[in-house]
Structure formats: C-alpha cells, structure tokens
C-alpha cells in the first residue's frame, strides 16, 4: 500500500523537478538576454525574449498539469496547499523575468551606456536571487537541511539588488537626461528590481514550508 501511494507521489515529484528545470531555463534566458542587451542593445534581443516566453509557457503547462494531478496524489491537504502556494509565488518571478525582456523589446528601450554596467549588475543580482530560489525550492521539496540557508542567500541577493536599484535610480536622476527619459528608464529599473523582491517573497514562503516540516 505504501509503495502504491509512493509511486503516485513519485510522478508528482518528477513533475515538480521538471517545473523547476523549466523555471531555471527562463532565468537563464533572462541572464543571457541581459548580457546580450549590455553588448548590443535591444536590436536582436527578440530571440531571448522569445526563448524566455517559450520556456515560460512550458512552465505554465507543467504547472497546470501539477495542479490537476495534485489532488489525485497522496499528499496531505496541508502539503497540497503549500505546494500550490509555492508554485504561484515562483510563477510570479518567472513572469517578471519574461516581462523585463519583453518590455525592453516592445518599448525599444536603449539605456544610456553610462548606466549599462550598473543595470547589468542589477540583472545579475536578480538572476542570482531567482536561481537560488530554485535551489531552495528543490531543497525544501526534498526536505534537505539547506533550505533555510538558501532562503537567507536569496535575501542577500535581493538586498544587493535593492542597493543596485537605488544606486541606479540616483545616478539616473543625477544625469542631464530629460525628466521624461529619467522616468522612462526608471520604470525599467523598477521592473527589473521587482524580480528580486518577488524572489524574496517566494523564498520566505519556501522557508516557512521547510520550517513547518522540520517542526
């Protein structure tokens, strides 16, 4: 009987692992896209935006499948709710990563070269926060003892992203750019930094999830 119940859960475990892999792919597309943007600007960035969109769509498909299957598996009700909540929060980070690339392409945002290094630093912090979040989620689902430390690491990344964002906004408004442009570029910076905030929110949730199973 136990093996029968466990076999049902094993499919769910594999689907969650697949979801995490797909999410990593979105974040890697985000990282590669921003690296390209730093070198070449927005022309040609569509390729990365499309790639992140494709990966995000696959994530959605896997997530929908997990949500459909979750109630047929033998997880306890509290665990089902925790897993659903975890997916919802990770999904927000994925959507944000995809949205950053899409907005740069759609609005043809050409960030001034003087700000590009700082912006790349912000993107790196957000990417690191998102990837660490994925490590944390995998650890929490496997009940590994590292989940809490990884949660702290996500917070540290978010804190760095916050500092980068503030430095970038300050530099932006200290520049001679027209106010409309300052606001226009600031929106991109805020949009990108929100990814770190969302990753931190999700990491807090994952930490609680891990603590509940340790208590």
């Amino acid at each position: 009987m136990f093996m029968f119940l466990y076999r049902r859960n094993r499919e769910l475990r594999d689907q969650l692992a697949l979801y995490i892999d797909k999410a990593r792919a979105v974040f890697d597309a985000f990282r590669d896209g921003l690296a390209y943007y730093r070198e070449h600007g927005y022309p040609g960035l569509e390729r990365y935006a499309r790639l992140s969109h494709t990966d995000e769509s696959e994530c959605d498909q896997v997530r929908r499948q997990i949500e459909r299957d979750l109630f047929a598996k033998s997880l306890l009700p509290e665990a089902r709710e925790d897993v659903m909540s975890l997916l919802e929060h990770i999904d927000l980070v994925i959507n944000q990563a995809e949205d950053v690339l899409r907005q740069i392409v759609l609005q043809r945002i050409a960030l001034p070269p003087a700000l590009m290094d700082r912006y790349a630093e912000l993107g790196t912090c957000c990417h690191r926060a998102a990837i660490t979040l994925m490590d944390q989620a995998a650890a929490a689902l496997g009940n590994a003892p590292t989940a809490r430390e990884l949660g702290d690491a996500v917070k540290a990344c978010e804190s760095q992203a916050d500092q980068s964002e503030q430095g970038l906004v300050a530099a932006l408004f200290a520049s001679d750019l027209p106010l409309a442009e300052k606001l226009y570029y600031r929106d991109l910076v805020t949009l990108t930094a929100a990814m770190g905030d969302l990753a931190e929110d999700a990491a807090n949730l994952v930490t609680v999830f891990a603590l509940k199973r340790e208590a």
């Binding site: 009987m1 136990f2 119940l5 466990y6 859960n9 094993r10 769910l12 475990r13 033998s74 997880l75 306890l76 009700p77 509290e78 665990a79 897993v83 689902l141 496997g142 009940n143 590994a144 003892p145 509940k212 199973r213 208590a215």
Partner: protein, 308 residues
Amino acid sequence: MLGLMAGVFLGWSLGANDAANCFGTAVSSRMVAWRHAVWLAAAFILLGAVAQGQAGIATLQALTDQTATGAELAALAAAVTVTTMVRLRLPASASQAVVGALLGSGLATGHIHAAPLGRVLACWIGTPLGAMLVAFVLYHVLRWPLSRFRPSLFVLDPILHLGLILCGCYAAHALGANSVANVASFLVVGGRLSPGAAVAVGGLAMAAGVLTFSRGVMLTVGRGITPLDAFTALVVVLAEGITVHLYALLGVPVSMSQAIVGAILGIGLAKGVHILNARNLVHVLVGWLLAPAAAATLGAIFAVLAGA
C-alpha cells in the same frame, strides 16, 4: 426488553460520539474521506468488541449485585444521562455514566462492592495521565527517525497518510474492546444473553452509531484538534488507542475523550509548548464528576421508584 433497548441505545450513542476520537482529526482535515473512515471505524469497533470486549463485563458486574430489572433501570439511567448531557453539550463519558448508574442503583438497594470501585476510580484518573505519558514517549520515539533520515515530502506524506488510517483502525479496535462492556454488562444480567452474544450485540450497536450519526461529532471534534499537524495527530491517536487498549485488557472501561486530552497534553510536554487550553482540562474534570454523579442520582431514583 427495556434493558436490551437501553443497552443498544447506549451502544449506538457510544459509537456515534466516540468514533470521532479515532478518525476525527484525519476526517476534518481531509486526510481521510468520511465515508472511508466510518466503515473502517465501524468494522474495527465490532472486531475489537467481539475479540477482546468481554473482560470489562466482569468488572462492571462486580461493582453491584443486580437483578435483571435493576440492570435494565441502570442501563436506562446511563443512557438518559449520556443523551441528555450530549444534548446539553456537556462532556459525557459513557463509561463513567454506566459506573455511576450502577453505583446509584446499588446504593439505593444496598448492594455495592467497594473493592472493584477503587480499581475503577484509579483507572479513570490513570487514563489521561497514562495517555499523556504514552504520547510523550511515542512522540520522541517516532520523531527520531524523521529527524535522522529527513524523508522528503513525497515519502513522508504517504507514510503519515497510511499511519493515520492504521492508527485510526487500531484506536477503533481499542474503543470497541474497551467500551462494549458498558453495553454488554446490562445484556448478560439474568442470563439473558451469553457474554459472547452480548459483546456482539453491543459491537453492532456501536457500529450502527458510527455509520448513522458520527459525522457531525467527527468534524466538530476533529476541528477542535486541528492545530495538530499530521504527525502529531498520528501520535495522539496512537497514544489514546494504546492507553484505552491497555485498560480494555485490564477489564476496566475508561473514557476515550479523556485519553485524547491526556495525549494532547503529552504532546505539549514533548514539544515544550502549550497546546491545551484550560477548557480541555475542565472538560476532563467535569467528565470525571458530572456524568457519574448525574447517572448515579438517576439510577438511585429509578431503583427507589422500582422498589416502591
């Protein structure tokens, strides 16, 4: 006939109320479907009653010298007491009401034996304390492999799921073995039924109570204990099952509700947190005093009226 009806009614009421202590947490938190829980509880209560339920009959019979009529009236007094207290939402232990009714009847007719009474009272006090100790030990024993091997969500949840079902079945078996004597002791007086037949009738009455009327109580009791997580709920149900089963083997019917309160207190001690409010403790104290006192009064009144 009156004794049989009162006994069966008492058994039905016992099943309807006490099955909640076996599967309440699992059902109210949707870990086990209600329709599965009631069939399992009914089957295991009947099994426990038939397999191990006869020991308590001798204890209850030893408390007083009863005629067939006296036993019928005592059964009626116990049934009326339990039903009234449940209707008034007061904590009621059928085991304690039965003993109270027998004592009241015995006092009125002057046929009472003090020696077995001391044993019964000691077991009443020992029920929550024993359950507390068992829960405390079980919590630490079962916690150790979880801390050591840290099974993932996908491994632990099926174990807890299965464990809750198995422990619920075991607790239902213990309930049947322990409590059926409350019913059967009235049915064997005067040789109306053999002990084997009496526990079968009592077990069937309890199973009928589970199948027909346990849902509301199960959800209410379960929600009252919902702050417990699956692991803690498993320990509580197992601890109450072991405690009540031990008393069934000793032949003293005790209160399952009081065992569960003791088990929760034991978990609180083990975790170093306060998870039991004063209301639960008052529940135990009132159960100790009110049900037997009310049943004894009613049993004495019935006996005096029958004598007049």
